[in-house]
């Protein structure tokens, strides 16, 4: 037992060391020159654009359900008019970023892990390397930057659609116009709500791309390792999302209040 735990820790430490090296490789290759613009744009499309529907639908339903759940409580306090404000704050501060990031971890991190993993297995990464091309720059830098760029955008989209979902729930009784609702939402959100939320989505995006690339790029040879890379990418990225969430909330609370 003890031995097993020890070797588990050792593996974890070794893995952490590898990740730091991989991170260094990422930064070195990012600033190396010869940035792969067209591949970056393609990845933004693949990663971002193709996740729009999934993020949109999920956010809409989340907003709708959240409003439906909140409503009875607020009504019983006679604070029904607080509904847009409560919704806006919870969606923009927490639910929008985290739900979007978790969905992206499931869709994007696993996709990258599987794609790079199978490129590794079929020796495509070795072939790039041995030909004198730069697979870190072509495959890894572009993907990590694409997720870092697209996840915040997807979150923004998720926030807006989530609020629209909330509007639908409120408006089942048809008391508020859409304009009034959105202006109420916007009024209730301050800079101190937006900035930490935005910063955290950047980290979410980075970690999704980074973990996906790391797991795929370092996958073992053999078909089952493609599945393992994809799977462990989702697990690790999701965990990191919660860790980052906790840290950013703590830090921003200290700074802002």
């Amino acid at each position: 037992m003890a031995e097993q735990a020890l070797s588990g820790w050792k593996k974890w430490l070794e893995g952490s060391g590898d990740q730091v090296i991989f991170l260094k490789g990422f930064f070195r290759n990012m600033f190396r020159g010869g940035f792969e613009w067209s591949e970056f744009v393609r990845q933004c499309y693949e990663i971002g654009y193709k996740s729009f529907t999934l993020v949109g639908v999920t956010a809409f339903i989340m907003g709708l359900v959240l409003a439906l759940q909140l409503r009875p409580t607020l009504v019983s306090f006679g604070a029904e008019s607080m509904l847009p404000r409560t919704l806006a704050i919870s969606i923009i501060r927490e639910i929008g970023p985290v739900i979007t990031a978790l969905i992206c971890a499931g869709k994007i991190a696993s996709g990258i892990g599987a794609e790079l993993g199978s490129m590794k297995v079929t020796e495509q990464i070795d072939a790039m390397d041995v030909s004198g091309a730069n697979p870190m720059q072509y495959l890894v830098v572009t993907r990590i930057l694409a997720t870092t760029f697209m996840v915040p955008l997807l979150t923004l989209l998720g926030d807006v659609i989530g609020l629209a979902g909330g509007f639908l729930a409120i408006n089942i009784n048809g008391k508020v116009t859409l304009m009034l609702y959105y202006s109420k939402c916007i009024d209730s959100i301050g800079f101190s709500d937006l900035l930490p939320a935005f910063i955290k989505t950047i980290f979410f995006g980075f970690v999704i791309g980074f973990i996906g690339c790391y797991k795929g790029y370092n996958s073992n040879k053999g078909t089952e390792s493609v599945g393992i890379s994809a799977n462990s990418a989702v697990v690790a990225a999701s965990l990191w999302i919660f860790v980052i969430d906790a840290i950013v909330v703590q830090v921003s609370n200290i700074i802002i209040y």
């Binding site: 079929t122 495509q124 072939a127 041995v130 030909s131 004198g132 730069n134 072509y138």
Partner: protein
């Protein structure tokens, strides 16, 4: 082919006159407990085609992976153009790799790219060719050489096994490397195409003075391409000489290849 020459005669003049491009001495490589390469010694001279024969799993691929710096040797030296591969910085290794062409046994085609993009990749990213007209003409030349002109817009998954092999070859040759490492270039091809590929290897040698190591099980390919043949068994080279020498060898293991 100079079939009259003995091994000694073949070695002597070449080591005096011709530059040694690849120098391997006392190479050892093990994976865990398993000793794959035990003691490999090989000099390859400029413009020479060396064929390596050997049973499956004896470490032929491992040998050329050590030359390209994909694996680090446990012991012994591997020098290419006079420089130790294992001691190179990342930059030097990259520099060296632009001069080495490596044909993977599995082809290793970029399967998210079309045939054209597969060939563009090394031109744009290794040779840094910017001129689209030059890129197009080189792609055309490369595809013509392997008879794949019709497939230019196809994806690798739409190609047959033999076509994939030929595309891999075209992608490696398109940068006109000084050293070519062919890992089973004709395996899985029909006899006619195999012969064409062997001729192509020979043509590359003559036209661009390419130095090559060719791993193969195909005796016809060996006969066509080899200036020198080495036979490998159990992590060591056990015989060496021209194709005719090897063919006439008394050694039972060597004989079993013919």
């Amino acid at each position: 082919m100079e079939d009259k020459e003995t091994i000694e005669e073949l070695k002597q003049p070449s080591s005096k006159k011709k530059e040694v491009v690849i120098h391997i001495k006392g190479l050892k490589k093990a994976f865990g407990e398993k000793e794959v390469l035990k003691n490999i010694n090989l000099d390859v001279h400029r413009g020479e085609n060396v064929v390596i024969l050997g049973k499956s799993g004896t470490g032929k691929s491992v040998t050329i992976e050590c030359i390209a710096g994909m694996l680090a040797p446990d012991e012994g030296e591997v020098k290419v153009f006079g420089d130790e591969v294992a001691g190179m910085t990342e930059k030097q290794l990259k520099e060296l790799r632009t001069k080495i062409g490596f044909l993977f046994q599995s082809g290793a085609l970029y399967d998210s790219m079309t045939v054209r993009e597969n060939l563009e990749f090394p031109l744009k990213r290794v040779l840094k060719v910017r001129d689209q007209a030059e890129i197009d003409s080189r792609i055309e030349e490369a595809l013509d050489g392997v008879g794949l002109m019709d497939a230019i817009e196809k994806m690798p998954s739409e190609l047959s096994g033999g076509m994939r092999k030929r595309l891999g070859l075209a992608r490696t040759l398109i940068v006109k490397p000084e050293i070519m490492l062919y890992d089973e270039p004709t395996t899985g091809l029909d006899p006619v195409t195999s012969r064409e590929i062997s001729q192509l290897i020979l043509k590359m040698q003559k036209k661009y003075k390419t130095t090559s190591i060719i791993i193969t099980h195909d005796m016809e390919c060996a006969e066509i391409t080899a200036d020198r043949v080495v036979v490998m068994n159990d992590g060591e080279y056990i015989a060496e000489g021209s194709f005719e020498d090897i063919k006439r060898s008394k050694d039972e293991f060597v004989r079993s290849f013919f």
